[in-house]
Symmetry: C2
Subunit: 225 residues, 2 copies
DNA sequence: TGTACATCAGTGAACGCGCGTTCACTGATGTAC
DNA sequence: TGTACATCAGTGAACGCGCGTTCACTGATGTAC
Protein backbone atom coordinates (compact mmCIF):
# COMPACT_ATOMS: atom_id res chain seq x y z
CA UNK A 1 0.00 0.00 0.00
CA UNK A 2 0.95 3.63 0.28
CA UNK A 3 3.16 4.05 -2.64
CA UNK A 4 3.06 7.47 -3.94
CA UNK A 5 4.98 9.78 -1.81
CA UNK A 6 2.35 12.33 -1.15
CA UNK A 7 -0.02 9.86 0.38
CA UNK A 8 -3.51 9.64 -0.80
CA UNK A 9 -5.61 8.30 1.92
CA UNK A 10 -6.58 11.69 3.00
CA UNK A 11 -10.22 11.16 2.31
CA UNK A 12 -12.20 8.03 2.24
CA UNK A 13 -14.05 6.62 -0.59
CA UNK A 14 -17.14 4.55 -0.70
CA UNK A 15 -19.91 4.58 1.79
CA UNK A 16 -20.21 8.22 2.38
CA UNK A 17 -19.06 8.82 -1.15
CA UNK A 18 -16.31 11.37 -1.36
CA UNK A 19 -13.92 10.46 -4.01
CA UNK A 20 -10.77 11.16 -2.24
CA UNK A 21 -7.55 10.31 -3.87
CA UNK A 22 -8.13 12.12 -7.11
CA UNK A 23 -5.16 13.13 -9.11
CA UNK A 24 -4.52 10.48 -11.66
CA UNK A 25 -5.99 7.24 -12.75
CA UNK A 26 -7.60 6.14 -9.63
CA UNK A 27 -4.98 6.53 -7.04
CA UNK A 28 -5.55 3.65 -4.73
CA UNK A 29 -7.64 1.12 -6.52
CA UNK A 30 -6.37 -1.86 -4.62
CA UNK A 31 -7.50 -0.43 -1.32
CA UNK A 32 -10.77 0.70 -2.84
CA UNK A 33 -11.44 -2.82 -4.11
CA UNK A 34 -10.75 -4.30 -0.72
CA UNK A 35 -13.12 -1.85 0.87
CA UNK A 36 -15.75 -2.53 -1.77
CA UNK A 37 -15.40 -6.25 -1.11
CA UNK A 38 -15.85 -5.69 2.61
CA UNK A 39 -18.95 -3.66 2.00
CA UNK A 40 -20.44 -6.17 -0.40
CA UNK A 41 -19.63 -9.17 1.76
CA UNK A 42 -21.18 -7.45 4.75
CA UNK A 43 -24.30 -6.72 2.77
CA UNK A 44 -24.81 -9.96 0.93
CA UNK A 45 -22.54 -12.57 2.39
CA UNK A 46 -19.30 -13.93 0.98
CA UNK A 47 -21.08 -15.53 -1.97
CA UNK A 48 -22.81 -12.35 -3.03
CA UNK A 49 -19.72 -10.51 -3.94
CA UNK A 50 -18.49 -10.35 -7.49
CA UNK A 51 -15.40 -9.00 -9.08
CA UNK A 52 -17.46 -6.91 -11.44
CA UNK A 53 -19.52 -5.31 -8.73
CA UNK A 54 -16.47 -4.49 -6.68
CA UNK A 55 -15.11 -2.68 -9.72
CA UNK A 56 -18.36 -0.80 -10.15
CA UNK A 57 -18.27 0.12 -6.49
CA UNK A 58 -14.81 1.51 -6.87
CA UNK A 59 -15.90 3.43 -9.94
CA UNK A 60 -13.61 1.71 -12.43
CA UNK A 61 -14.12 -0.44 -15.47
CA UNK A 62 -14.59 -4.19 -14.97
CA UNK A 63 -11.15 -4.87 -16.36
CA UNK A 64 -9.33 -2.67 -13.91
CA UNK A 65 -9.24 -5.06 -10.94
CA UNK A 66 -7.14 -7.47 -12.97
CA UNK A 67 -4.25 -5.09 -12.54
CA UNK A 68 -4.25 -5.86 -8.83
CA UNK A 69 -5.68 -9.34 -8.32
CA UNK A 70 -5.47 -12.43 -10.44
CA UNK A 71 -9.09 -13.22 -9.75
CA UNK A 72 -11.89 -13.05 -7.26
CA UNK A 73 -10.34 -15.69 -5.02
CA UNK A 74 -7.13 -13.78 -4.71
CA UNK A 75 -9.02 -10.70 -3.62
CA UNK A 76 -10.99 -12.75 -1.11
CA UNK A 77 -7.81 -14.26 0.27
CA UNK A 78 -6.37 -10.80 0.68
CA UNK A 79 -9.47 -9.71 2.57
CA UNK A 80 -9.11 -12.74 4.81
CA UNK A 81 -5.44 -12.02 5.43
CA UNK A 82 -6.15 -8.44 6.39
CA UNK A 83 -8.97 -9.68 8.56
CA UNK A 84 -6.62 -11.92 10.49
CA UNK A 85 -4.27 -9.03 10.99
CA UNK A 86 -6.97 -6.79 12.38
CA UNK A 87 -8.27 -9.70 14.42
CA UNK A 88 -4.87 -10.36 15.90
CA UNK A 89 -4.48 -6.75 16.93
CA UNK A 90 -7.96 -6.66 18.39
CA UNK A 91 -7.42 -9.78 20.42
CA UNK A 92 -3.96 -8.75 21.56
CA UNK A 93 -5.27 -5.40 22.72
CA UNK A 94 -8.06 -7.10 24.63
CA UNK A 95 -5.70 -9.57 26.22
CA UNK A 96 -3.38 -6.75 27.19
CA UNK A 97 -0.63 -9.08 28.35
CA UNK A 98 -3.01 -10.65 30.83
CA UNK A 99 -3.53 -7.57 32.94
CA UNK A 100 -4.66 -7.28 35.66
CA UNK A 101 -4.82 -11.04 35.85
CA UNK A 102 -5.27 -13.83 33.31
CA UNK A 103 -8.86 -14.55 34.30
CA UNK A 104 -10.10 -11.04 33.78
CA UNK A 105 -8.06 -10.68 30.63
CA UNK A 106 -9.44 -13.90 29.18
CA UNK A 107 -12.95 -12.68 29.77
CA UNK A 108 -12.11 -9.52 27.88
CA UNK A 109 -10.61 -11.61 25.12
CA UNK A 110 -13.83 -13.53 24.68
CA UNK A 111 -15.86 -10.38 24.47
CA UNK A 112 -13.46 -8.93 21.94
CA UNK A 113 -13.81 -12.07 19.85
CA UNK A 114 -17.57 -11.72 19.65
CA UNK A 115 -17.37 -7.99 19.16
CA UNK A 116 -15.11 -8.50 16.18
CA UNK A 117 -17.41 -11.09 14.64
CA UNK A 118 -20.32 -8.74 15.02
CA UNK A 119 -18.75 -5.46 14.00
CA UNK A 120 -16.64 -6.88 11.20
CA UNK A 121 -18.88 -9.52 9.68
CA UNK A 122 -17.19 -9.20 6.31
CA UNK A 123 -13.75 -9.89 7.68
CA UNK A 124 -15.09 -12.68 9.81
CA UNK A 125 -16.85 -14.29 6.86
CA UNK A 126 -13.82 -14.08 4.67
CA UNK A 127 -11.65 -15.55 7.40
CA UNK A 128 -13.84 -18.45 8.45
CA UNK A 129 -16.82 -18.94 6.22
CA UNK A 130 -15.89 -18.05 2.68
CA UNK A 131 -14.15 -21.32 2.07
CA UNK A 132 -10.79 -19.73 1.46
CA UNK A 133 -8.26 -22.49 2.00
CA UNK A 134 -5.65 -21.21 4.46
CA UNK A 135 -2.90 -22.67 2.34
CA UNK A 136 -3.77 -20.52 -0.63
CA UNK A 137 -1.21 -18.15 0.56
CA UNK A 138 1.66 -18.50 3.01
CA UNK A 139 0.93 -15.02 4.28
CA UNK A 140 -2.69 -15.88 4.85
CA UNK A 141 -1.77 -18.89 6.89
CA UNK A 142 0.83 -16.97 8.82
CA UNK A 143 -1.64 -14.22 9.64
CA UNK A 144 -4.16 -16.82 10.83
CA UNK A 145 -1.53 -18.49 12.93
CA UNK A 146 -0.53 -15.21 14.52
CA UNK A 147 -4.12 -14.48 15.45
CA UNK A 148 -4.50 -17.90 17.00
CA UNK A 149 -1.23 -17.44 18.84
CA UNK A 150 -2.78 -14.65 20.89
CA UNK A 151 -5.36 -17.09 22.14
CA UNK A 152 -2.75 -19.74 22.75
CA UNK A 153 -0.58 -17.39 24.76
CA UNK A 154 -3.58 -16.45 26.84
CA UNK A 155 -4.26 -20.10 27.50
CA UNK A 156 -0.65 -20.59 28.51
CA UNK A 157 -0.82 -17.73 30.95
CA UNK A 158 -3.93 -19.21 32.49
CA UNK A 159 -2.53 -22.68 32.85
CA UNK A 160 0.60 -21.22 34.35
CA UNK A 161 -1.41 -20.19 37.37
CA UNK A 162 -2.00 -23.85 38.13
CA UNK A 163 0.41 -26.06 40.06
CA UNK A 164 2.90 -27.63 37.71
CA UNK A 165 1.53 -31.10 38.10
CA UNK A 166 -2.01 -30.37 37.02
CA UNK A 167 -1.66 -28.16 34.02
CA UNK A 168 -3.82 -29.03 31.06
CA UNK A 169 -2.29 -28.63 27.60
CA UNK A 170 -2.60 -24.98 26.73
CA UNK A 171 -3.05 -25.72 23.05
CA UNK A 172 -6.08 -27.86 23.73
CA UNK A 173 -7.51 -25.23 25.98
CA UNK A 174 -7.05 -22.59 23.33
CA UNK A 175 -8.79 -24.79 20.80
CA UNK A 176 -11.73 -25.32 23.12
CA UNK A 177 -12.17 -21.65 23.75
CA UNK A 178 -11.77 -20.84 20.10
CA UNK A 179 -14.35 -23.44 19.16
CA UNK A 180 -16.89 -22.23 21.66
CA UNK A 181 -16.37 -18.61 20.69
CA UNK A 182 -16.63 -19.44 17.01
CA UNK A 183 -19.69 -21.58 17.57
CA UNK A 184 -21.45 -18.83 19.46
CA UNK A 185 -20.46 -16.24 16.90
CA UNK A 186 -21.63 -18.37 14.02
CA UNK A 187 -24.89 -19.51 15.57
CA UNK A 188 -26.00 -16.46 17.49
CA UNK A 189 -23.52 -13.71 17.03
CA UNK A 190 -24.59 -11.91 13.92
CA UNK A 191 -27.54 -9.70 13.32
CA UNK A 192 -29.83 -11.23 10.81
CA UNK A 193 -28.22 -14.46 9.88
CA UNK A 194 -29.32 -17.79 11.26
CA UNK A 195 -31.20 -15.87 13.83
CA UNK A 196 -31.96 -18.14 16.72
CA UNK A 197 -33.41 -16.51 19.75
CA UNK A 198 -31.36 -16.64 22.87
CA UNK A 199 -32.42 -16.04 26.46
CA UNK A 200 -29.21 -14.05 26.90
CA UNK A 201 -26.67 -12.15 24.88
CA UNK A 202 -23.95 -14.05 23.05
CA UNK A 203 -21.45 -12.32 25.32
CA UNK A 204 -23.16 -13.63 28.41
CA UNK A 205 -23.36 -17.08 26.93
CA UNK A 206 -19.66 -17.16 26.14
CA UNK A 207 -18.67 -15.67 29.45
CA UNK A 208 -20.68 -18.28 31.34
CA UNK A 209 -19.32 -21.05 29.15
CA UNK A 210 -15.73 -20.01 29.68
CA UNK A 211 -16.31 -19.73 33.43
CA UNK A 212 -17.65 -23.25 33.62
CA UNK A 213 -14.89 -24.53 31.41
CA UNK A 214 -12.12 -22.86 33.39
CA UNK A 215 -13.61 -24.13 36.59
CA UNK A 216 -13.54 -27.61 35.10
CA UNK A 217 -9.81 -27.17 34.64
CA UNK A 218 -9.46 -26.27 38.29
CA UNK A 219 -8.92 -22.60 37.63
CA UNK A 220 -10.34 -20.32 40.23
CA UNK A 221 -11.21 -17.46 37.99
CA UNK A 222 -11.88 -14.32 39.85
CA UNK A 223 -14.54 -13.54 37.34
CA UNK A 224 -14.84 -10.07 35.95
CA UNK A 225 -13.61 -7.38 38.28
CA UNK B 1 -35.18 -35.83 -24.37
CA UNK B 2 -36.46 -39.19 -23.39
CA UNK B 3 -40.14 -38.75 -23.38
CA UNK B 4 -41.40 -41.89 -24.78
CA UNK B 5 -43.39 -43.88 -22.36
CA UNK B 6 -41.21 -46.82 -21.75
CA UNK B 7 -37.59 -46.09 -21.09
CA UNK B 8 -37.09 -43.27 -18.77
CA UNK B 9 -35.93 -44.58 -15.46
CA UNK B 10 -34.51 -47.86 -16.49
CA UNK B 11 -31.10 -46.50 -15.87
CA UNK B 12 -30.37 -44.83 -12.68
CA UNK B 13 -29.87 -41.23 -12.35
CA UNK B 14 -28.05 -39.45 -9.68
CA UNK B 15 -25.64 -40.90 -7.16
CA UNK B 16 -26.55 -44.40 -6.27
CA UNK B 17 -29.63 -43.81 -8.30
CA UNK B 18 -32.65 -46.01 -8.17
CA UNK B 19 -35.50 -43.80 -9.09
CA UNK B 20 -38.42 -45.45 -7.56
CA UNK B 21 -41.78 -44.43 -8.86
CA UNK B 22 -41.14 -44.62 -12.58
CA UNK B 23 -44.09 -44.68 -14.88
CA UNK B 24 -44.92 -41.29 -16.11
CA UNK B 25 -43.38 -37.89 -16.56
CA UNK B 26 -40.56 -38.15 -14.20
CA UNK B 27 -42.12 -39.87 -11.33
CA UNK B 28 -40.50 -38.27 -8.41
CA UNK B 29 -38.91 -35.08 -9.52
CA UNK B 30 -39.18 -33.34 -6.19
CA UNK B 31 -37.09 -36.01 -4.51
CA UNK B 32 -34.68 -36.09 -7.40
CA UNK B 33 -34.16 -32.34 -7.11
CA UNK B 34 -33.50 -32.60 -3.41
CA UNK B 35 -30.96 -35.31 -4.02
CA UNK B 36 -29.34 -33.28 -6.77
CA UNK B 37 -29.13 -30.31 -4.43
CA UNK B 38 -27.47 -32.44 -1.76
CA UNK B 39 -24.96 -33.73 -4.23
CA UNK B 40 -24.17 -30.30 -5.61
CA UNK B 41 -23.92 -28.66 -2.20
CA UNK B 42 -21.62 -31.41 -1.02
CA UNK B 43 -19.42 -30.92 -4.06
CA UNK B 44 -19.31 -27.17 -4.32
CA UNK B 45 -20.70 -25.66 -1.16
CA UNK B 46 -24.09 -24.07 -0.62
CA UNK B 47 -23.27 -21.19 -2.94
CA UNK B 48 -22.29 -23.40 -5.82
CA UNK B 49 -25.66 -24.89 -6.35
CA UNK B 50 -28.04 -23.52 -8.93
CA UNK B 51 -31.60 -24.27 -9.81
CA UNK B 52 -30.65 -24.90 -13.40
CA UNK B 53 -27.94 -27.39 -12.56
CA UNK B 54 -30.19 -29.29 -10.19
CA UNK B 55 -32.65 -29.64 -13.05
CA UNK B 56 -29.92 -30.86 -15.35
CA UNK B 57 -28.85 -33.33 -12.73
CA UNK B 58 -32.35 -34.67 -12.48
CA UNK B 59 -32.55 -34.87 -16.25
CA UNK B 60 -35.40 -32.42 -16.74
CA UNK B 61 -35.76 -29.10 -18.46
CA UNK B 62 -34.78 -25.98 -16.54
CA UNK B 63 -38.42 -25.02 -16.21
CA UNK B 64 -39.50 -28.23 -14.53
CA UNK B 65 -38.34 -27.43 -10.99
CA UNK B 66 -40.78 -24.54 -10.86
CA UNK B 67 -43.57 -27.07 -10.58
CA UNK B 68 -42.22 -28.06 -7.19
CA UNK B 69 -40.39 -25.11 -5.71
CA UNK B 70 -41.05 -21.43 -5.98
CA UNK B 71 -37.36 -20.74 -6.31
CA UNK B 72 -33.92 -21.78 -5.29
CA UNK B 73 -34.36 -20.55 -1.74
CA UNK B 74 -37.42 -22.65 -1.21
CA UNK B 75 -35.55 -25.72 -2.34
CA UNK B 76 -32.68 -24.84 -0.03
CA UNK B 77 -35.05 -24.38 2.87
CA UNK B 78 -36.56 -27.76 2.16
CA UNK B 79 -33.12 -29.33 2.18
CA UNK B 80 -32.43 -27.66 5.51
CA UNK B 81 -35.72 -28.89 6.96
CA UNK B 82 -35.04 -32.44 5.93
CA UNK B 83 -31.56 -32.08 7.30
CA UNK B 84 -32.90 -31.12 10.70
CA UNK B 85 -35.19 -34.13 10.64
CA UNK B 86 -32.37 -36.51 9.88
CA UNK B 87 -30.22 -34.70 12.43
CA UNK B 88 -32.85 -35.06 15.11
CA UNK B 89 -33.17 -38.77 14.50
CA UNK B 90 -29.42 -39.21 14.48
CA UNK B 91 -28.98 -37.37 17.74
CA UNK B 92 -31.92 -39.08 19.40
CA UNK B 93 -30.59 -42.47 18.44
CA UNK B 94 -27.17 -41.58 19.82
CA UNK B 95 -28.64 -40.27 23.05
CA UNK B 96 -30.73 -43.40 23.38
CA UNK B 97 -32.71 -42.05 26.30
CA UNK B 98 -29.53 -41.54 28.26
CA UNK B 99 -28.58 -45.17 28.48
CA UNK B 100 -26.65 -46.53 30.22
CA UNK B 101 -26.08 -43.25 32.00
CA UNK B 102 -26.27 -39.61 30.97
CA UNK B 103 -22.52 -39.11 30.92
CA UNK B 104 -21.83 -41.90 28.50
CA UNK B 105 -24.84 -41.01 26.41
CA UNK B 106 -23.77 -37.39 26.17
CA UNK B 107 -20.39 -38.46 24.95
CA UNK B 108 -22.07 -40.51 22.25
CA UNK B 109 -24.24 -37.54 21.38
CA UNK B 110 -21.22 -35.36 20.78
CA UNK B 111 -19.63 -37.93 18.52
CA UNK B 112 -22.87 -38.30 16.60
CA UNK B 113 -22.97 -34.54 16.12
CA UNK B 114 -19.55 -34.47 14.53
CA UNK B 115 -20.22 -37.60 12.52
CA UNK B 116 -23.30 -36.00 11.04
CA UNK B 117 -21.47 -32.82 10.14
CA UNK B 118 -18.80 -34.85 8.41
CA UNK B 119 -20.89 -37.46 6.65
CA UNK B 120 -23.70 -35.13 5.64
CA UNK B 121 -21.90 -31.91 4.80
CA UNK B 122 -24.65 -30.83 2.43
CA UNK B 123 -27.34 -31.10 5.04
CA UNK B 124 -25.14 -29.44 7.59
CA UNK B 125 -24.34 -26.56 5.28
CA UNK B 126 -27.96 -26.00 4.38
CA UNK B 127 -28.92 -26.06 8.03
CA UNK B 128 -26.28 -23.79 9.46
CA UNK B 129 -24.20 -22.14 6.82
CA UNK B 130 -26.32 -21.41 3.81
CA UNK B 131 -27.90 -18.36 5.35
CA UNK B 132 -31.39 -19.78 5.26
CA UNK B 133 -33.35 -17.75 7.79
CA UNK B 134 -35.09 -20.21 10.13
CA UNK B 135 -38.25 -18.15 9.97
CA UNK B 136 -38.61 -18.70 6.27
CA UNK B 137 -40.81 -21.57 7.07
CA UNK B 138 -42.65 -22.57 10.24
CA UNK B 139 -41.84 -26.19 9.50
CA UNK B 140 -38.18 -25.39 9.11
CA UNK B 141 -38.10 -23.66 12.43
CA UNK B 142 -40.05 -26.46 14.08
CA UNK B 143 -37.68 -29.06 12.70
CA UNK B 144 -34.72 -27.09 13.97
CA UNK B 145 -36.31 -26.73 17.36
CA UNK B 146 -36.99 -30.44 17.57
CA UNK B 147 -33.37 -31.23 16.80
CA UNK B 148 -32.19 -28.82 19.46
CA UNK B 149 -34.70 -30.33 21.89
CA UNK B 150 -32.76 -33.59 21.84
CA UNK B 151 -29.73 -31.75 23.09
CA UNK B 152 -31.76 -29.87 25.67
CA UNK B 153 -33.29 -33.03 27.04
CA UNK B 154 -29.87 -34.55 27.31
CA UNK B 155 -28.69 -31.52 29.24
CA UNK B 156 -31.70 -31.83 31.52
CA UNK B 157 -30.96 -35.44 32.22
CA UNK B 158 -27.40 -34.55 33.09
CA UNK B 159 -28.30 -31.72 35.41
CA UNK B 160 -30.87 -33.94 37.08
CA UNK B 161 -28.04 -36.02 38.45
CA UNK B 162 -26.92 -33.02 40.49
CA UNK B 163 -28.34 -32.10 43.89
CA UNK B 164 -31.35 -29.87 43.48
CA UNK B 165 -29.65 -26.82 44.87
CA UNK B 166 -26.75 -26.69 42.46
CA UNK B 167 -28.27 -27.39 39.09
CA UNK B 168 -27.18 -25.13 36.29
CA UNK B 169 -29.81 -24.09 33.76
CA UNK B 170 -30.11 -26.96 31.31
CA UNK B 171 -30.87 -24.64 28.43
CA UNK B 172 -27.65 -22.77 28.93
CA UNK B 173 -25.75 -26.00 29.17
CA UNK B 174 -27.30 -27.23 25.95
CA UNK B 175 -26.32 -24.00 24.24
CA UNK B 176 -22.74 -24.31 25.40
CA UNK B 177 -22.42 -27.83 24.14
CA UNK B 178 -24.08 -26.99 20.88
CA UNK B 179 -21.77 -24.04 20.39
CA UNK B 180 -18.65 -26.02 21.06
CA UNK B 181 -19.77 -28.87 18.84
CA UNK B 182 -20.68 -26.49 16.05
CA UNK B 183 -17.46 -24.57 16.44
CA UNK B 184 -15.38 -27.72 16.20
CA UNK B 185 -17.40 -28.97 13.26
CA UNK B 186 -17.10 -25.69 11.42
CA UNK B 187 -13.42 -25.10 12.11
CA UNK B 188 -11.98 -28.59 11.99
CA UNK B 189 -14.69 -31.05 11.22
CA UNK B 190 -14.86 -31.19 7.48
CA UNK B 191 -12.46 -32.64 5.01
CA UNK B 192 -11.08 -29.99 2.80
CA UNK B 193 -12.62 -26.81 3.99
CA UNK B 194 -10.84 -24.38 6.26
CA UNK B 195 -8.36 -27.11 6.93
CA UNK B 196 -6.50 -26.28 10.08
CA UNK B 197 -4.28 -28.96 11.38
CA UNK B 198 -5.12 -30.37 14.75
CA UNK B 199 -2.96 -32.39 17.10
CA UNK B 200 -5.97 -34.65 17.66
CA UNK B 201 -9.21 -35.66 15.99
CA UNK B 202 -12.22 -33.38 16.22
CA UNK B 203 -13.95 -36.11 18.20
CA UNK B 204 -11.20 -36.18 20.77
CA UNK B 205 -11.22 -32.42 20.99
CA UNK B 206 -14.95 -32.31 21.61
CA UNK B 207 -14.89 -35.17 24.06
CA UNK B 208 -12.17 -33.51 26.09
CA UNK B 209 -13.95 -30.18 25.96
CA UNK B 210 -17.21 -31.65 27.17
CA UNK B 211 -15.45 -33.48 29.94
CA UNK B 212 -13.82 -30.32 31.22
CA UNK B 213 -17.07 -28.43 30.87
CA UNK B 214 -19.13 -31.01 32.71
CA UNK B 215 -16.55 -31.17 35.43
CA UNK B 216 -16.85 -27.44 35.76
CA UNK B 217 -20.52 -27.94 36.44
CA UNK B 218 -19.70 -30.35 39.19
CA UNK B 219 -20.70 -33.40 37.20
CA UNK B 220 -18.66 -36.47 37.91
CA UNK B 221 -18.83 -37.98 34.51
CA UNK B 222 -17.75 -41.54 34.47
CA UNK B 223 -16.20 -40.91 31.12
CA UNK B 224 -16.70 -43.37 28.33
CA UNK B 225 -17.24 -46.89 29.48
C1' DT C 1 15.42 22.91 -15.52
C1' DG C 2 13.45 20.73 -19.57
C1' DT C 3 12.55 16.94 -22.74
C1' DA C 4 11.98 12.18 -24.41
C1' DC C 5 10.71 7.99 -23.18
C1' DA C 6 9.47 3.74 -20.61
C1' DT C 7 6.15 2.22 -17.50
C1' DC C 8 1.90 0.97 -16.12
C1' DA C 9 -2.94 1.81 -14.24
C1' DG C 10 -7.24 2.11 -16.07
C1' DT C 11 -10.45 2.17 -20.50
C1' DG C 12 -14.19 0.53 -23.13
C1' DA C 13 -15.76 -2.60 -26.23
C1' DA C 14 -16.44 -7.15 -26.98
C1' DC C 15 -17.15 -12.22 -26.24
C1' DG C 16 -19.19 -16.49 -24.52
C1' DC C 17 -21.55 -18.40 -20.75
C1' DG C 18 -24.89 -19.98 -17.57
C1' DC C 19 -28.43 -18.54 -14.81
C1' DG C 20 -33.31 -17.39 -13.57
C1' DT C 21 -37.65 -17.00 -15.34
C1' DT C 22 -41.70 -16.81 -18.62
C1' DC C 23 -44.70 -18.86 -21.85
C1' DA C 24 -47.81 -21.49 -24.62
C1' DC C 25 -47.58 -26.12 -25.31
C1' DT C 26 -48.08 -31.37 -24.90
C1' DG C 27 -48.63 -35.69 -23.31
C1' DA C 28 -49.66 -38.80 -19.41
C1' DT C 29 -52.73 -39.54 -15.68
C1' DG C 30 -56.91 -40.14 -12.98
C1' DT C 31 -61.73 -40.04 -12.86
C1' DA C 32 -66.78 -39.01 -13.59
C1' DC C 33 -70.19 -40.94 -15.94
C1' DT D 1 -66.12 -51.64 -19.25
C1' DG D 2 -65.33 -47.70 -22.11
C1' DT D 3 -65.11 -42.80 -23.22
C1' DA D 4 -64.61 -37.79 -22.55
C1' DC D 5 -62.54 -34.61 -20.01
C1' DA D 6 -60.04 -32.05 -16.36
C1' DT D 7 -55.71 -31.95 -14.27
C1' DC D 8 -51.12 -31.26 -14.07
C1' DA D 9 -46.05 -32.49 -14.64
C1' DG D 10 -42.69 -31.61 -17.76
C1' DT D 11 -41.19 -29.40 -22.51
C1' DG D 12 -38.43 -26.44 -25.23
C1' DA D 13 -37.71 -22.16 -26.91
C1' DA D 14 -36.91 -17.71 -25.71
C1' DC D 15 -35.56 -13.49 -23.08
C1' DG D 16 -32.70 -10.33 -20.46
C1' DC D 17 -29.04 -10.14 -17.31
C1' DG D 18 -24.67 -9.90 -15.11
C1' DC D 19 -20.50 -12.10 -14.72
C1' DG D 20 -15.63 -13.27 -15.89
C1' DT D 21 -12.22 -12.42 -19.01
C1' DT D 22 -9.58 -10.69 -23.20
C1' DC D 23 -7.73 -7.12 -25.93
C1' DA D 24 -5.60 -3.25 -28.09
C1' DC D 25 -5.67 1.17 -26.47
C1' DT D 26 -4.70 5.67 -23.90
C1' DG D 27 -3.31 8.83 -20.83
C1' DA D 28 -0.85 9.98 -16.50
C1' DT D 29 3.36 9.21 -14.09
C1' DG D 30 8.23 8.92 -12.95
C1' DT D 31 12.77 9.31 -14.50
C1' DA D 32 17.19 9.31 -17.26
C1' DC D 33 19.71 12.48 -19.34
Amino acid sequence: MSWSKSDRDGTDREGAGRDGPRGYHHGNLKEALIRAALELIAQKGPAGFTFAEAARWAGVSPAAPYRHFRDRDELMADVARRGFEVFEQTLARAWDSGRPNPGVAMDRLGKAYLAFARSEPAYYSAMFEAGVPPDTNPELRAAGDRAFAVLRHAAEALTATLPAGSRPPALMMALHIWSMAHGIAALFGRGDNARRSLPMTPEELLEAGMLVYLQGLGLRTAGPG
